[in-house]
């Protein structure tokens, strides 16, 4: 058995490795994506009062703390078993949409746009944000401003900490002021213009990416995610829907608190990542995908005019491109439009500044489940507490976990097409990595220093000896 290791996957936010296993015929037999995952955080929480959980859980992730904050607070709401004041729900929604916005902006403009807009085979020295700036300064400026806008919304609402704890079980800690509302409303139009410009650029260049569309994790799978009661796009609450590769609904709307009846978790031996699958179809047939692409396929429509117009164009192409994960990029742009339109709508609500933002109660249930659609997909927080309100068990399923099996499948597919025996080519590496990036995995508990380790690819022969090695520095 020979192995090719790509270590680490550059440009994803964190630390990961890909192992490609070659069969004796020299063809790629198996592909696996390894992550340093956070079961440790689940242990950390045991014994703590559940009111601390949102703040603690937000710290499990330096990349999208707000989604953890929201899902955790919702699990806390379930433990309190009280109705959350409407104004608090609106504020939580805005905050969470701002997280979606800034996270998608990071993924699209910073991490993917250089490949997408300059071309996968462009000179590596230019294929980055700086190179892109020289070609399309307005777009890059706009992208930076877009992400800064999302970050600033979060900072103004939840405080300027790296790990804000403003969302609490029962609501949010404090109402917002008129100045913050005005800031929200003033920023939306410019941000929408940027996203629409990016969308136009992306669509124009799409013709150059036939090969990628064909081979970027283009395989049938189920899709899973939340939809609202009308079947529209929803990130904060709703019901779980599952569709098959043809788009047919297998599960119309399932109570997310009963997620364990819907999905089961496989143990992946050499990864800390959980690998859930759709229970009714078994392992591995129950592979499903979550995230922006899944969400856009699950919904009847987005529910906001600009996003719906973009969705229509997307759907025309999506049908012809089959199951390509490559379309995640466009899905992210559409979701950014949706987030901006929804933020505008919510911020314009007459009772936005209502001071009634928190319900107080003690623990009234022993088990609470909070589910939200994080930027990368369905996020599940599941807590058990004792009679005193101390946490006894935690189960987290993060988006990257839901996608684990699909990512392996996607990498395998690309590797089979681009990897040729023992030859290690830069272009191939980029494409394998690009598949992973299309899923935008969130490798939460990573260190930033590890991200600087040089990229090393190793080729092992049947005896486990390194027969070829390729290294490049990420510095």
């Amino acid at each position: 058995m020979r192995r090719i290791e790509i270590d680490p996957v550059t440009r994803i936010e964190g630390h990961a490795r890909i192992t490609l296993q070659l069969g004796d015929d020299g063809r790629v037999r198996d592909a696996r994506f390894h992550v340093d995952q956070f079961r440790g955080f689940e242990k950390l929480a045991v014994g703590r009062p559940f009111h601390e959980m949102p703040g603690l859980m937000a710290r499990t992730c330096g990349i999208c703390p707000i989604s953890h904050l929201v899902a955790s607070a919702k699990a806390g709401d379930a433990l309190l078993a009280v109705a959350i004041p409407e104004p608090a729900i609106r504020l939580r929604r805005i905050l969470h949409l701002a997280q979606i916005l800034q996270s998608h902006a990071l993924s699209f403009f910073y991490l993917s746009a250089p490949d997408l807009l300059l071309g996968m085979d462009a000179d590596p020295a230019r294929r980055n944000l700086v190179g892109l700036y020289d070609e399309e300064p307005e777009l890059v400026r706009g992208g930076i401003a877009l992400r800064a806008f999302g970050q600033e919304i979060i900072a103004r609402m939840a405080g300027k900490r790296v790990h804000p704890a403003w969302v609490v079980p029962g609501g949010v800690a404090t109402p917002i002021d008129a100045e913050t509302r005005d800031f929200l409303l003033a920023g939306v139009p410019g941000a929408i213009a940027t996203v629409e410009q990016a969308l136009a650029s992306f669509r124009m260049r799409l013709v150059g990416f036939e090969a990628e569309i064909q081979h970027f994790a283009n395989f049938p799978s189920l899709f899973l995610g939340l939809v609202d009661t009308n079947g529209e796009l929803e990130h904060y609450e709703g019901r779980l829907r599952v569709i098959d590769p043809t788009g047919a609904r297998i599960v119309e709307g399932f109570d997310p608190a009963r997620y364990q009846e819907l999905i089961a978790e496989a143990d992946e031996p050499d990864s800390y990542l959980k690998a859930p699958y759709f229970r009714a179809f078994g392992f591995p047939d129950g592979i499903y995908r979550v995230g922006p692409l899944a969400r856009l396929r699950l919904v009847t429509r987005c529910g906001t005019p600009r996003a719906d117009a973009a969705l229509e164009i997307f759907r025309g192409r999506d049908a012809s491109a089959g199951q390509a994960s490559f379309l995640y990029h466009e899905a992210r742009l559409i979701e950014m439009l949706f987030a901006l339109e929804r933020i505008e709508e919510l911020a314009g609500h007459a009772e936005l500044l209502d001071p009634d933002v928190r319900a107080h109660a003690g623990p009234n249930r022993r088990e609470g489940i909070g589910v939200a659609e994080a930027p990368r997909g369905t996020l599940i927080h599941h807590y058990r507490i004792d009679a005193d309100g101390l946490v006894t068990a935690v189960n987290l399923i993060i988006a990257t976990g839901h996608n684990a099996l699909a990512m392996n499948r996607g990498v395998l597919q690309v590797a089979r097409h681009f990897v040729d025996g023992e030859r290690l080519q830069e272009g191939m590496l980029n494409r394998v990595e690009a598949v992973i990036r299309a899923f935008d995995p969130c490798l939460a508990c990573s260190t930033h220093a590890l991200g600087k380790m040089p990229l090393a690819i190793r080729l092992f022969d049947a005896q486990g000896r390194v027969v070829d090695e390729l290294r490049r520095s990420s510095r």
């Binding site: 440009r11 980055n128 970050q151 790296v162 508990c445 991200g451």
Partner: protein, 152 residues
């Protein structure tokens, strides 16, 4: 006369968070300092607006506890296809402003990046020097003059 300190790292991975921790302390002292997980492009907006930027970073390749300070220049040719690193960030800032600020990096060699808080013994021992080094890079009228004569 503005200086911006940017501390990089994950505070839940022990020594990895040393730069971020230092930035938090400097911010608590009233300085313009930010603790971030990793270099992010929107920082370029802020960098473009100051005279001097000081990055506080952990270095896994250096001897644990060893503190170094050096000038850094914007990347002429940022590394291809990878995440944005500090020179790349500076290159971006230089494009956003007419000219970017003078940039320094203060690094400390680290040892332990396990999950958890607190630093390993050598990093804890070197932390005071790391902080002092960072503080001394504040722009003062005379310091900026000295820097100019030194390099000009």
């Amino acid at each position: 006369m503005t200086t911006l300190w940017i501390g990089l790292g994950n505070s839940l991975r022990r020594d990895d968070g040393v730069g971020a921790r230092a930035a938090e302390i400097l911010a608590a002292e009233g300085l313009r300092a930010r603790a971030v997980f990793q270099p992010l492009p929107e920082l370029a907006l802020e960098i473009a607006a100051v005279q001097r930027v000081v990055f506080l970073d952990a270095d896994l390749d250096d001897a644990p506890g060893v503190v170094r300070q050096r000038r850094i220049a914007p990347a002429a040719d940022p590394e291809g296809g990878h995440r944005l690193d500090v020179p790349g960030l500076l290159a971006l800032a230089a494009r956003l402003a007419r000219r970017g600020p003078e940039a320094w990096i203060v690094s400390i060699g680290i040892l332990d990046v396990d999950a958890g808080e607190g630093f390993s013994t050598p990093v804890a021992a070197g932390f005071g020097e790391f902080l002092d080094c960072a503080r001394h890079l504040a722009v003062t009228p005379s310091a900026s003059h000295a820097a100019r004569t030194h390099h000009g």
